[in-house]
């Protein structure tokens, strides 16, 4: 039995025991709960696994509905706004800010069970997880932050140190990397997912997003400079590399056709150290460049106000997102644990020593932009237009700035911006 199987088996036993303990505490549970989650082959699989154990322990049947990200976002939002109330517990993140008012506050449950104890410091706070009027509405269960994963051999061959203060530094290094490694492009990225270009902007731009008077606003010169920096970097993508999916971008790195991949680490790291991997033992992760922030991916569980049995919903949240299943979710599904103890596990710590320091440092510094879906789409689509040469950085950013003025800032985003220091003082 290898370490992974041992760890999984131990975690499974613990999980079942925890669920049983939770349920013997007199919590009344409903016969059925509907749960929406992203169809990723990770979160949905973990949910299915835990749902089966939850049913065995509690009798509550958790129906897991999994959708690709964009569909999940749409289904959750439509479910709330239309009053369909199909899902009792929802998966999401800050992009649901338009509908925060439809969720229940969970402060009482958190306080009752001392739930936040042991969570990575700062995760359960405004600007990182979701709050309405100072009260928590989202319970974190999967954390990730944009990272820069590099091929050690290729960078060494080019004489490049894997620390880049800015994207301009990376662009300069790209010249050397491409020159030293024939047939290799500098970096890959999921360029075909239009919103992902935001990851580069949020790290390159050190300004604020909301003005003193509570309107969306950019520091136009700084934002223009950031857009120009990204535009210059785009030249170092692989040939025809401007519409890559996550899988394609990752495969290029695994096939050693690019020296660096810019991505969410949890999407790729577990496949880089397998026996079949061409990059096993020759990859690392470095701090994300830029004076802004690395884009945080913090999956959270929300309970709609319309959910009838909130106690049952909370029991499911604890089973799915609690510390007991965190290690198994990480080992088996590469779901970033939100619990500090997972990263202190000696076995895991030793195994992941080549990237965990950068990864955990990324968690500490990463943030979410305080943008509604509409404001974010406007920014990222325009950035796509800039890097593809449809408009200049100056015109594109000026256009975003003027149109942002017409988009209302959801109240919860003001709270988040204040919490993460992204509003003008």
């Amino acid at each position: 039995m290898d370490h992974r199987t041992k760890a999984a088996s131990a975690a499974q036993t613990m999980a079942a025991a925890t669920i049983a303990t939770l349920l013997t505490g007199g919590i009344s549970v409903a016969a059925e709960l509907n749960f929406s989650v992203m169809e990723s082959g990770t979160y949905d699989r973990a949910a299915g696994q835990i749902a089966a154990e939850f049913k065995a322990a509690s009798g509550t049947d958790v129906k897991v509905s999994a959708f690709p990200w964009a569909v999940l976002r749409q289904n959750n939002t439509t479910d709330l706004i239309s009053g369909t109330n199909r899902y009792d517990v929802m998966s999401g993140g800050y992009y649901l800010s338009d509908v925060y008012s439809y969720f229940s506050t969970l402060d009482d449950y958190i306080a009752r069970d001392n739930y936040a104890e042991g969570m990575i410091p700062g995760l359960l706070s405004p600007g990182r997880s979701e709050f309405v009027s100072g009260k928590s509405i989202g319970i974190p269960y999967g954390v990730d932050a944009y990272g820069l994963i590099y091929n050690t051999e290729m960078l060494e061959k080019a004489g490049v140190s894997p620390e880049f203060a800015t994207w301009a530094d990376l662009a300069a290094a790209c010249e050397k990397i491409v020159a030293a490694n024939a047939g290799v492009a500098c970096f890959s990225h999921a360029t075909g997912n239009p919103e992902q270009i935001g990851g580069f902007f949020f790290s390159a731009y050190a300004g604020t997003y909301i003005s003193k008077d509570g309107k969306y606003a950019l520091d136009v010169p700084a934002a223009t400079a950031a857009a120009e920096e990204i535009s210059a970097l785009w030249k170092y993508l692989p040939d025809k590399g401007t519409a890559l999916t996550f899988d394609e971008a990752h495969q290029l790195f695994k096939d050693q056709k690019v020296a660096i991949t810019v991505t969410y680490p949890s999407f790729i790291t577990n496949s880089l150290d397998t026996e079949e991997s061409q990059v096993k033992g020759k990859w690392g992760m470095s701090a994300f460049p830029g004076d802004g922030f690395a884009w945080l991916s913090l999956w959270q569980l929300f309970v709609p106000a319309a959910t009838e049995d909130k106690d049952a919903a909370w029991a499911w949240i604890k089973a799915f997102a609690g510390p007991e299943n965190a290690k198994r979710n990480l080992v088996e599904h590469n779901i970033g644990s939100v619990w500090a103890a997972t990263y202190e596990d000696p076995e895991l710590k030793a195994k992941n020593a080549h990237f965990w320091p950068a990864l955990t440092a990324g968690f500490a510094a990463a943030k979410n932009p305080p943008l509604s879906g509409e404001a974010q789409d406007l920014l990222t689509n325009t950035l796509q237009d800039i890097v593809n040469g449809r408009t200049s950085a100056a015109d594109g950013i000026a256009s975003v700035a003027s149109q942002w003025a017409t988009i209302p800032v959801p109240a919860a985003m003001l709270e988040a911006a204040a919490g993460s220091g992204l509003q003008d003082k």
């Binding site: 075909g192 239009p194 590399g241 519409a243 509409e374 689509n381 950035l383 237009d385 800039i386 449809r390």
Partner: protein, 316 residues
């Protein structure tokens, strides 16, 4: 001789209908019979239109409130016309609709001329040609997205096989715009071909034979006999396809998602995003009305053109 519209009194139906007709008169009873149909038409068509027109005059963001917001007059229309992204969307939609329709007409007419006639083979070819039309548009978009993948898609691999470096179909704004036109044409050319084949079959064969007897070759016969007689159908098909192209959403959603950037945003995609993604209901309603008026203008233009062609043909 005029035809009497009402029956003589002696022949009127007896009983309830007779009494009703006597009371309401012929026009009254006709209107009475029309009422159920009118209710359905008004309920299903005019009410939603009128409702969206009203909504477009208010500020209603569903994400803020489930109830309609304050009256803002024509502000949403002003915003529509001053929005540079909307302007770009309209301009791409026009390019997309005209190019795609023109391509479909050219290819459809060519296919119709090649496959008109009887016989097992021709019938089989026509049946096979219909296949793209019966595939769900969402599936069409998904399949084409895979085919057009610049690095691993089969199309570029096939092109590489013959020494051609295929383009960045979906990653380059110009190629992405062209790709959507190509996909739409692939899907809907069969509709044009089948319709024009039916029209060709119904043309009077004596005229074509007479032209041949008079010494006209195939091109002259096509140019001066077949094409003019087909024109009313071509115009009608062009109108249908152009309006349908204006409404294209599914293949955009599944193939490019309107990108890269805003390069392939069509009007329908824009309205979908405003209404159902951002829940800007009033703004989406105003944009919908702008699109509706564009479609009505196109339809009226085409119908006038068709009338003109038909009356010209009758006069000759």
């Amino acid at each position: 001789m005029s035809i009497p519209l009402s029956l003589p009194e002696a022949q009127r139906p007896a009983g309830f209908l007779g009494r009703l007709e006597a009371r309401l008169g012929e026009t009254g009873i006709l209107l009475l019979f029309l009422v159920p149909a009118l209710i359905i038409v008004i309920g299903a068509q005019f009410y939603p239109l009128a409702s969206s027109a009203v909504i477009s005059l208010f500020d209603w963001r569903l994400s803020r409130s489930p109830t309609i917001g304050p009256f803002v007059g024509l502000d949403n229309y002003v915003r529509t016309f001053s929005d540079p992204i909307f302007a770009g969307t309209v301009s791409y939609t026009i390019i997309f609709a005209i190019s795609s329709t023109a391509l479909q007409l050219l290819l459809g007419l060519g296919i119709a001329l090649l496959t008109v006639g009887e016989g097992y083979t021709l019938r089989l070819v026509r049946t096979l040609l219909m296949l793209p039309m019966v595939v769900a548009p969402v599936a069409v978009g998904t399949i084409w997205r895979m085919i057009l993948s610049a690095r691993v898609g089969p199309l570029n691999q096939a092109l590489a096989g013959i020494g051609i470096d295929g383009p960045n179909w979906l990653g380059d704004p110009t190629w992405a715009a062209f790709s959507l036109i190509m996909i739409d044409a692939w899907e809907w050319t069969p509709f044009v071909a089948i319709t024009l084949t039916a029209a060709l079959t119904s043309l009077p064969s004596d005229l074509i034979r007479a032209a041949s007897v008079d010494g006209a070759g195939p091109w002259k016969t096509f140019r001066h006999i077949v094409l003019p007689m087909l024109m009313p159908v071509i115009v009608l098909v062009a109108m249908f396809r152009l309006i349908e192209a204006f409404l294209t959403l599914d293949i955009v959603f599944t193939t490019t998602a309107g990108g890269p950037g805003y390069a392939t945003h069509t009007l329908s995609f824009w309205i979908y995003q405003q209404g159902l993604k951002y829940f800007n209901i009033s703004y989406a309603a105003a944009s919908s009305w702008v699109m509706l008026l564009l479609c009505v203008a196109i339809a009226l233009g085409f119908l006038a053109w068709r009338r003109h062609i038909t009356s010209w043909q009758v006069s000759r």
